[in-house]
């Protein structure tokens, strides 16, 4: 029985939006499937890993009967990708099998009953809800997401803290070596609330956000967060745990302060990084009045040295860092000029944007 006929992209685009979270291996076989549901003219796609659930709908109105089915997300995605982009795809369903035809190609896929597909229950009403443009949220996430921990035993570090208070929304991430903070004003009067978004949710959300002024609505629910934008809805569980008080690690008395052109500093570090030790990634910064030297050496005793002129007149300092931590912040921050503030060789450095309190990056040094 013919159930759907559509141009390839009308199916592939929404499918790709939901399949990013599908795990390759799972104890529940149905979780490697995508739920496709046609209601009226709208075809919806849904995938979940039981922690995150993404739904989206095809924006094209498609004729045909209503249906619900689940089939392998990965295989359907591979097939649709492999057929020509303007091809017309037809789906037929018979005896628990799904047949996909395009031109002279024909694929027969297994299905599992849609009733068996686990859906995340939505937990009540929201504690805090606000919206901002997708571009703005994307920018905020970009400024902090690189500092999230990966598979740390401290679960609360494997994510991003989202804090709301009044008209402020703050995002904070840390892996214990460095901490990134970004904040923005929104048009809302929000209660004081905070949730830790899991790493996977943050990366998936970031991938799906468009560089557009279209809004995204964010709702904090009990142990859940819901993001709605366009026809897409992401529901995610949050990390159970208490995020550390980031205020206690912001250094306030660093007195070796100067401004630096972001791109100049970034390029110098990128060149020096070629000869940084592959395992430890150490870089030494040497400050003196008027100049900062950047030094890298590797295990073969090869050396790179860069010198930058800076408007600095304070005392001398030699301090070591993991060069990747410096490259991360310089790559992801859309500012022309940065302010750097150092204390001594064993205390954290503070990176900020001049005359702007919406961004902070705190990085601990390496002992030289």
């Amino acid at each position: 029985m013919l159930i759907l006929q559509a141009e390839r992209d009308a199916l592939l685009k929404p499918l790709l939006a939901v399949t990013g979270i599908v795990e390759r291996r799972h104890t529940l076989p149905i979780l490697s499937n995508v739920l496709i549901e046609k209601k009226g003219a709208e075809v919806g796609f849904l995938a979940t890993d039981l922690e995150i659930q993404i739904t989206t709908a095809s924006t094209d109105a498609l004729p045909g009967e209503d249906f619900r089915l689940t089939t392998s997300a990965k295989k359907l995605q591979d097939i649709l990708r492999a057929i020509p982009d303007k091809a017309t795809v037809t789906l037929e369903q018979q005896d628990g099998r799904l047949t996909l035809k395009a031109g002279k190609s024909r694929f027969n896929l297994q299905t599992l009953p849609a009733e068996d597909f686990p859906l995340l229950p939505v937990n009540g009403t929201s504690d805090a809800a606000f919206s901002l443009s997708q571009r703005e949220l994307k920018r905020l996430i970009a400024q902090v997401q690189y500092a999230m921990a990966v598979q740390d035993i401290r679960y609360y570090l494997n994510g991003l803290l989202m804090q709301t208070e009044g008209n402020q929304v703050r995002l904070i991430s840390t892996d214990g070596h460095r901490l990134a903070f970004s904040s923005a004003e929104v048009e809302a009067n929000l209660p004081k609330a905070e949730v830790i978004l899991p790493r996977k949710t943050v990366l998936e959300l970031y991938k799906l956000l468009a560089d557009s002024d279209d809004p995204i609505n964010i709702e904090v629910l009990a142990n859940q967060v819901r993001f709605s934008f366009g026809t897409t809805v992401i529901i995610s569980k949050v990390v159970d745990g208490k995020f550390p008080d980031y205020n206690r690690v912001i250094p306030l008395d660093n007195d070796k302060i100067f401004l630096i052109e972001r791109v100049t500093f970034l390029h110098a570090l990128q060149r020096a990084a070629i000869l940084a030790n592959e395992k430890f990634r150490g870089v030494r910064l040497v400050l003196k009045p008027g100049a900062m030297s950047i030094l890298c050496t590797n295990s073969e005793q090869e050396e790179a040295e860069e010198e930058l002129e800076i408007g600095y007149s304070g005392g001398g300092l030699e301090i070591g860092f993991n060069i990747n931590y410096l490259l991360d912040v310089l790559t992801n921050l859309p500012a022309d000029t940065l302010q750097l503030a150092f204390g001594d060789g064993s205390r954290s450095a503070l990176f900020t944007i001049p005359d702007n309190s919406d961004f902070k990056y705190i990085v601990m040094p390496m002992r030289i």
Binding site: D152, H177, P244, D245
Partner: protein, 224 residues
């Protein structure tokens, strides 16, 4: 080059709730009860938890909104103004020097005369075995005296688990059992080692496992 780590988690202050009290319920009950004897002396072996109890008692005083002071005779001289506090804790009284013994005796007497204020002291030996001035030693015996009983291995494991949970660390039980058999056995050292493992695992981005503990213990022992 060693990566240094951010000081994200404050060291949790000792409170009664985090004291594993299986064998010391009476002590906790006496310390938490304001109607109880005003002069208490705790004694017990190193690592039995006396310092924890003294500091928890101070924290308890603060929740009651009372002025309090914790004095460590091993680390500092006893200041005379200490008598102005309502809750006075004096730790390690075995180490009081002669002048401080006089100060403590005088604090004791002024509290006794004033009829208010609480004094909690701790040492390694029962009052009569302390090498202190006779007058001070007898006063210690006049109040309530408790022996803080050492923790059993199971108590220590429970305390380590509780400490790890407070720091939101996921650590398997075998790590703690390994520590108990391969590291100093008193709880103070065990907790200090857990804090060190916490920092080390954060710096190295490695989970806290038995191989990691072996590694840390080796380098710790190698240093004098």
């Amino acid at each position: 080059m060693d990566q240094l780590v951010l000081d994200l988690a404050p060291v949790p202050l000792p409170v009664f709730d985090t004291f594993v009290a299986e064998r010391n319920r009476e002590v906790i009950a006496a310390l938490a009860d304001p109607g109880c004897e005003r002069f208490i002396y705790l004694w017990g072996e190193v690592g039995s938890g006396k310092t924890h109890l003294l500091q928890a008692w101070i924290a308890h005083a603060e929740t009651l909104g009372r002025s309090s002071i914790y004095l460590d005779a091993k680390a500092e001289r006893l200041p005379d103004f200490a008598r102005e506090a309502s809750f006075i804790a004096v730790d390690h009284i075995d180490d009081l020097d002669p002048d401080d013994q006089i100060t403590l005796f005088s604090i004791y007497n002024s509290l006794k005369d004033a009829g208010t204020g609480y004094l909690l002291m701790a040492g390694r030996k029962p009052p009569m075995a302390l090498a202190l001035r006779d007058d001070l030693r007898t006063r210690l015996g006049w109040g309530l005296v408790f022996e803080v009983k050492a923790l059993s291995d199971e108590d220590k494991l429970a305390a380590l688990h509780a400490h790890a949970a407070k720091r939101q660390l996921a650590v398997a039980d075998d790590v703690f059992r390994y520590l108990l058999t391969h590291w100093r056995r008193d709880l103070t050292s065990l907790i200090a080692m857990l804090d060190m493992l916490d920092r080390y695992s954060l710096a190295m981005r490695r989970p806290i496992t038995v191989p990691l503990v072996k590694n840390v213990l080796q380098t710790t022992r190698a240093q004098p």
